[in-house]
């Protein structure tokens, strides 16, 4: 069995730790998600959501490199994510690509079936402790990687020599592929963080602050949204993104499943505009937007892939929030047809608005 998994931002680092620690063979699909998208778009239903198309491209690439089994997480609706694996398997099957899928979710067949899948992951060793240990380590790494990314969000707008952060961070994303296991990767993260701390920054700068909200894939997978977070940083903006890989793993997969309490402040913050959970990350989008406004951010950018159902609902209620809380909100919709240039013009115009508002409030 040679495993592979779909990309989403830095999740490959977390997955790598998990699989290294489990001692199984795996293939990491090439990091280039734009190419994955163009492959996936060829075979996926035209109106399917963008992340599915990228997943599909990842799998086909990984298959060419020898992978035969896909490891994914699942879901049970109401948004499409929970049905990705079935649609993807149908497409692969009709393409004559034979790949198995191990979905880490509670299957229709019950919890025993889930245990069977986990055993299968650990090579039928039936060593539950090893699996639990590996999962814990992976979760810890995901939190460290997210912290590292937050560090780049802070240094990028403040660095005196432009491009310093980018150089260190992209080297990290490449080098991590050659690091091994929890210890190796943890060490590399530590070194990278030190390098980032050593970057010369302008301490007097008070950059504009923008909260990035929206559908999880397009917000977390920087390449899919034209590296918006990086570009904003290099334009002197400090960004924040409340939805993270580690938050998703720790809050949604563990705490929710084990019914442990987790931070649901965003749910209350969303209430006046969106009363219930409707799937995807709509509640987070609306709730985090309200929280960003209350924390004094200058603006909010919502990103989502074309036809994303929960985010369309969120988009419909954001204008009211923007009025009530007096904070500019811009929505960017991503699809495989859209070019980068169009986005940049809109982003620059948005930054102008935020700059002028700030001058007015100071002046």
């Amino acid at each position: 069995m040679i495993l592979t998994f779909p990309h989403m931002g830095n999740t490959y680092i977390t997955a790598k730790v998990l699989l290294d620690e489990l001692g199984v063979s795996y293939v990491i699909p090439p990091l280039d998600n734009q190419e994955a998208l163009s492959i996936g778009a060829r075979y996926a239903p035209e109106l399917a959501c963008l992340p599915l198309k990228i997943n599909l491209g990842n799998y086909i690439k990984a298959y060419e490199q020898g992978a035969d089994t896909i490891l994914i997480t699942g879901g049970c609706g109401p948004c499409r994510f929970g049905y990705y694996s079935e649609i993807e398997q149908g497409i692969l099957r009709d393409l004559g690509i034979k790949m198995d899928v191990i979905a880490l979710e509670k299957p229709d067949a019950g919890l025993l079936e889930l245990m069977r899948r986990i055993y299968r992951l650990s090579g039928y060793e039936k060593n539950v402790n090893r699996v639990i240990g590996a999962v814990k380590k992976a979760a810890r790494i995901s939190a460290l990687v997210d912290e590292l990314e937050r560090q780049t969000f802070r240094t990028r707008p403040r660095e005196t020599a432009k491009g310093s952060t980018d150089r260190i961070y992209s080297a990290f994303r490449e080098n991590v592929l050659n690091a091994k296991g929890y210890d190796g990767i943890k060490k590399l993260i530590g070194e990278t963080s030190e390098k980032l701390s050593a970057i010369k920054v302008n301490r007097n700068q008070t950059p504009l602050k923008i909260g990035i909200v929206g559908e999880i894939y397009t917000t977390i997978d920087s390449a899919t949204s034209f590296n918006l977070d990086i570009k904003l940083g290099n334009l002197g903006v400090e960004v924040d993104r409340a939805v993270t890989v580690s938050g998703w793993i720790i809050d949604h997969m563990f705490k929710k499943a084990l019914r442990l309490p987790y931070d649901t402040g965003y749910v209350d913050a969303a209430k006046p505009y969106l009363k219930t959970m409707i799937g995807g990350h709509a509640q987070e989008t609306v709730g985090h937007s309200a929280q960003y406004a209350d924390r004094g951010f200058d603006g909010i950018i919502q990103i989502y892939p074309l036809s994303c159902m929960p985010e369309i609902v969120a988009q419909s209620v954001l204008p009211g929030l923007s009025r009530d809380k007096d904070i500019p909100v811009m929505t960017l919709i991503i699809d495989e047809m859209s070019g980068e240039a169009g986005y940049m013009t809109r982003i620059e115009a948005f930054l102008d608005v935020l700059d002028r508002r700030r001058e007015r409030s100071i002046g």
Partner: protein
């Protein structure tokens, strides 16, 4: 108009928009509200103006069906004390409807100004078979404080209204001839099939070709439910599992000449359900299958051409008795635009 009684609004006229869940539930809702002494005001049939108003008020990215629903809400403004826009999170065990149904009242509030009071009771039967009754208590509380009355109104509504389709869904009598008659199954959400303005009279266009139209509502409910559970992971959308179950039922039958899948442009649910159903059918049988996508830009001429071409192809195949083996390698995607 509404009067205030002991801190509770007593409404007289309740508006129901003629869109989305209307097709499935109007009969029951009408009984429910009338039992409580309210007058039900239904929005007009979908028209060009209703579509235009809805398209203007709604975010561009929403599906056509939601945009039209917005138009119906606008149509009701000034005509009712309140508008009933329930939050349909789930209408069946372990299943959802669609994120947009779950957030519909929020979307409407976020997009249309000057609305009357919105009754947005949540219907959630995913884990709770009493979810319907709970929603009824909430919705009913705006009309009466008598919970026993609400309960009996709810029971009457379920008994006499459940599964009853509105007049729009009925086929006109006497269009079809016996000789050379085809049977075409049409898969799609009720609001896409029965709103003849939304779909430019699609079903009657098919009937005009001397083809009988079979919709999901004409198939046996129990068989659909039974068959929907026979795939590895059951669909978690109420409509999706219905469509999959129905596809199996249609494949079992020998009298179906072709299958059309009708969807609204921008529908996230259908983008998956249609793909799943299409692959399922093509793997099993060599049955003509086509997809029709509808939106505010669809032209009628394009739709006519597509239907005629589809029917002609079926007749031609019948005449020449073509029976190709069904195989994945023949898989192709029906061109998916009507205009």
């Amino acid at each position: 108009m509404s009067i205030i009684l002991m801190g509770c609004f007593i409404m007289k006229k309740v508006g129901i928009p003629r869109g989305l869940s209307y097709y499935e539930f109007y009969a029951a809702w009408k009984v429910f509200f009338e039992e409580l002494g309210a007058e039900v005001v239904l929005s007009d049939r979908t028209s060009k103006k209703i579509i235009d108003d809805g398209v203007k008020a709604c975010v561009d990215e929403a599906c056509f069906a939601v945009k039209i629903f917005f138009g119906h809400v606008i149509n009701l403004m000034g005509r009712a004390d309140c508008i009933f826009i329930p939050r349909l999170t789930s209408i069946s065990r372990n299943e959802y409807v669609c994120p947009k149904f779950g957030g519909l009242p929020d979307m409407v509030r976020g997009s249309i100004g000057g609305l009357p009071f919105i009754i947005d009771a949540e219907i959630n039967m995913r884990k709770d078979k009493n979810g319907g009754l709970k929603a009824a208590y909430e919705a009913g509380s705006f009309f009466t404080t008598d919970r026993a009355l609400i309960r009996s109104a709810y029971n009457k509504a379920v008994k006499s209204g459940y599964g009853v389709l509105p007049a729009e869904a009925a086929a006109p009598a006497g269009v079809l001839k016996n000789e050379g008659r085809l049977k075409i199954a049409v898969i799609g959400h009720g609001y896409n099939l029965y709103d003849s303005c939304l779909n430019m009279n699609l079903l009657n266009k098919i009937r005009a070709e001397n083809a009988e139209v079979i919709t999901l509502d004409m198939l046996d409910r129990d068989s659909i439910i039974k068959r929907s559970g026979t795939i590895p992971k059951k669909m978690f959308w109420n409509f999706g599992s219905k469509a999959v179950g129905a596809a199996f039922c249609l494949l079992d039958r020998q009298d179906i000449d072709g299958i059309l899948y009708v969807m609204a442009f921008g529908c996230g649910v259908d983008s998956f359900v249609c793909d799943y159903v299409e692959r399922l059918i093509r793997r099993e049988k060599d049955l003509p299958f086509a997809v029709i996508t509808l939106d505010e830009h669809s032209g009628e001429a394009g739709l006519n051409t597509r239907i005629e071409a589809f029917i002609d192809m079926i007749r031609w195949r019948k005449k020449n008795d073509i029976n190709l083996p069904s195989h994945g390698q023949y898989l192709h995607h029906g061109e998916s635009s009507a205009g």
